[in-house]
Amino acid sequence: MRVSCRRVLMGCAAVLSACCLAATAQAWEPSKPVQFYVPAGTGGGADQMARTIQAIVAKHNLMKQPIVVQNKGGGAGAEAFLEVKEKKGDAHLLLITLSSLFTTPLATGVPFRWSDITPVKMLALDEFVLWVNTESPWKSVAELVAAGKTQKLRMGGTGSRQEDHIITVAIGKATGAQFTYVPYKGGGEVAVQLVGGHIDTSVNNPIEAVSHWKAGKVRPLCVFDSKPMPYPEKITDTMSWADIPTCKSQGLDVEYLMLRGIFMPAGVTQEQVRYYIDLLDKVRATPEWKELMAQGAFNQTALEGAEFRAWLEREEERHRQLMAEAGFLAK
């Protein structure tokens, strides 16, 4: 008790805010605003999730200090990763990640690995769905693959040497279909290009394509997950997310999910990590969060601690393999 009291006093002296800390002297909690880095620009999926978390925390009063979201999208997120890596021991800094956690260091060679920072919690996994234009003749994966053997299919995706590109190469490897991959800046743009007929197919996330699906402009062929998505509410007149078959069941043996997880700098204490895990659990219990999950048809797997680390280890190795096969590794 004496130690923690002294720590409290020191903390008070440092931040000149005795009032808020004195009440809960035992557990650690933030003593100043928490920076929340987004390794991408404003408006994308990661940014949106970070700002939703910020809003939920503020609305439900889950934390006494505010969260401040900052976009550090330079170099496909390398800017954010390197900055978090440098700020060892800073417990007032969170980072939301996507697949660029693996792909950016591998593709660009910037000196960073996920193990340079502290994994806090996996919040969800983002699904990928194989889409074609409704007016295209392809009604199933088999038909699309067959077409890909006689002609080069134009596949649009977000960025280069990133998740969409990796999936494209993996599909080609698994089936022998030929693709011309065209990188765009964002997933929304890709979906519109598909509707406009400028590309033949895409692997958009559900949230990027759902509105066009509802409007009957695009057709989902399969989802790159091991199980169908658990959302049985009808989206179109005849189909729900749950009705989309897995790619594996359609003879396309490729699985890919994108991490939406939270990290902290290295050198933080167990107590501090615990605090944020509890906070994120409270966020995940709110109706707003559940609505976001249903809207984007997210895979709601949430891991922490050793399980999360094992997952990261495995995924990093898988990305290394996929990217090495595709020739995407930095030389």
């Binding site: 408006g43 503020a58 609305k59 990188p183 929304g188 590309i199 509105s211 509802k214």
Partner: protein
Amino acid sequence: MSELLALFHGFSIALEPTNLALMVAGIVLGVLIGVLPGLGGANGVAILLPLTFTLEPVSAIILLSCIYWGALFGGAITSILFNIPGEPWSVATTFDGYPMAQNGRAAEALTAAFTSSFIGAFVAILVITFVSPLVAGFALRFGPAEFFAVMFLAFASFIGLSSGSPFKTMASMMVGFLLAGVGLDTVTGELRGTFGSTELMRGFNFLVVVIGLFGISEILQSVEEGLTFRGREGRIDLKAVLRTWAEMIRHKAIIVRSALIGCWMGITPAGATPASFMSYGVARRLSRHGHEFGKGRIEGVIAPETAAHAAGTSALLPMLTLGIPGSPTAAVLLGGLIMWGLQPGPMLFVEQKDFVWGLIASMYLGNVVGLLIVLVAVPWFAAILRVPFPIIAAIIFVVCAIGAYTVNNAAFDIVLMLIFGVLGYVMKKLDYPLAPLVLALVLGDRTEQSFRQALLLSEGSFTIFFSNALVASIMLFGFVMLFWPVLSKLWARKEPSPA
């Protein structure tokens, strides 16, 4: 007529007292955000986004879109008064707006800018209200080749505008392209030109460069010229507003043309910045007084402001109907829609009638309220120029530094801003035009990307740029603009005029 009924219903939503109050608050905040270089509409909206979580979606979008309108208005203020564009699309406004202020016509320039912004926006809202089903699908026809053609047109209508040496223009533009290439290359996923530096990974942010090139270099130049701001004597009262309106009526052709260019660029969606440059270029090309542009012609303020605002407003159409953002701010608003539980895209107009029409009604009201607020404030804005230069210079310097820092929250950008300030000063002294550099920097990335995407799709064949009527006609129009000096000489034989 169903649109009119829906619109009136929308007005009943937008006129609720809370929504009206949010509208005014949003406009005022937006103007402030637009005035501060660096903060910008996108950042401003992103910061406020989480605060709107507790509001009704329609109230939230009214607040945020009014910040957007306010920022569009506010961006012109610093461009005209201090030659510092607060937003990318107000760069073209500096070309004639700042000289006007220096000639003692700051109030006229501001009035012209605000009024033409308003008209541009209003035309765009009419387009959104009545022809949205027709034009919403237009953006679908735009693939990479079409985007490149539009960018080509923007460059072509602007190139050769500077009166100086063509070689200096080319050199300046090439520096712009070079700077635009730094950072992550979307097409290959590789880092370019960063020399291993983490700071350069972000690439050169347009605003940081512009704050330095325009703002800081202007201060350096004023210091050299003996710490004076020219044009302090200008008469500043509300009569200036009426005088300017009378003058603007004579330029109605330019206004209509610029509004159309803006709507088209917003819907495609190529964005407000290329729209403003293109519109300025075209106005100058087609004007009898083309050679006087850049010295303080009011048309040089009207054209870019009308187009920028028309584009900025109509950019909301592809955002709502297709889920593609036409501007960085629209991208943040798009994230907001999803946060509030709405799904942007073709079904929004069907499923969320109250939301969509409430928003459209708030656009009408927001722009009227915005115009009134900024016009009333014109004398005060213009009066800033009466503050002694040593004081105002110090304030501008600090605001510039804060602005440069805010863009990416990076102290390194302040250093960059200073370097570009010196570069801008040297370029002015050696008579190199700054505009081509800025144009290449702001559009270079997008242009290069569309060009390479198009060639990927065509597997290297250039015929893709002439593969359908749409892209071919834009390209052709681009070539006409490019070779205009030659063509206009052919015309000049019939009708002698100083081209």
